[in-house]
Amino acid sequence: MQIHITTHDGVPVYLQIVNQVKYLVAAGRLAAGEELPSVRTLAEQLLINPNTVARAYLELERAGVVVKRHGAGTYVSDEGSPLARKERRKLLTQRADALLAEAQHMDMALDEVMALVKERHKHLNPPQK
């Protein structure tokens, strides 16, 4: 589980973990049923306070992203995250906003942006033979 913590942008550390685990689940890099590292292991790996990791795991549990099995660690929810779809949409919305802001800045019309997106989609998904 790759998590990167920064203390430069003012986002609380526990929230950075919550957001990144949600992202990893949404992106399929943490699969349903996969075990998360223990609180202590992640704290030592990221060099952060164990209470902060515990707090992040609690938030993730409340959001239904992970489940705690008694005495056996923390796992990604089996039913997949109920939030995954919403979360994916949220992530893409942010990216779309950034793209549109950039396009506006470069004086590119919406039609042009849409055409570009379609072209890139075609490029990334070549027709199957």
């Binding site: 003012g10 609380p12 202590r40 030592e44 952060i48 306070n49």
Partner: protein, 312 residues
Amino acid sequence: MNTPSSSLMETVIDLAGVSRRFDARLALDGVTLAVPRGCVFGLVGENGAGKTTLIKHVLGLLRPESGSVRVFGRDPVGDPVGVLSRVGYLSELRDLPAWMRVEELLRYSRAFYPKWDDAYAESLRAQFGLDPQARIQHLSRGESAKAGLVIALAHRPELLLLDEPSSGLDPVVRRDILEAIIRTVAEEGRTVFFSSHLLDEVERVSDQVAMMVEGRMVLAGPLEEIKLTHHQLTLRFDQPQAHAPVIAGALSVVGAGQEWTVLCNGTRPELVEAAGKLGARVVAERHPSLDEIFVARAAKKVPAAARVPTHS
């Protein structure tokens, strides 16, 4: 790992109105501080702010001129054995006997601590890659910090006290020290109190933070609370402003013309309302990092008129 409210928790270090003067200079000015058991407490401040003086009072090396110091409920000056046998201490100067070999240092140190754990000391020594035959005076800076850390940890102290543990060390040794802090607190009930001017480090590992400026405690509390009660707002005015806007709770104001960025202390609705009264819109906002809060608190860039009492 619940965090009950601090009033319910046992206080390991308790300072009440502690003052100390060195010649004409007030090194500690009415310092009050409570460190709850089981937390990592980070003390930040510039060089000369009084951090080391405060730690020396906790260790009983200095007697307060006024006010009181209690560690585990005891007076460290009156009962040094009762306090120091439960404390692991790494000084900024790492004042270890230069002529000793590492193994001699360990044997010498174990005599001071009834709870010294030989097996643990040996595993730390090996983990830190310290040669038992090496003389202290030939150790590198990082190695002597590690030797100091072995001594501070090997009796599994209830309170680990570190004065600028990372000062002048390379990232690899800093990592070893931070890991030791995290492991210490992960073992139930242990408390870590450390001073640092590396705000990034403090923000990563601390639950509680206190900030000293010129001998005074300007801010103390749970890190999260401190972060949530500080906001950085960028205000936009319809007309260019000749002077920095005056906002209650502002710690620093930077900007020019129509856009000004204010770092302030208070609740968000209050601040937005205050901005509204000035005829400004909030165009951007974020929570500042601990580093930014500290710089704003220490630098006093706000004109006198804008400096008003803040809640903290």
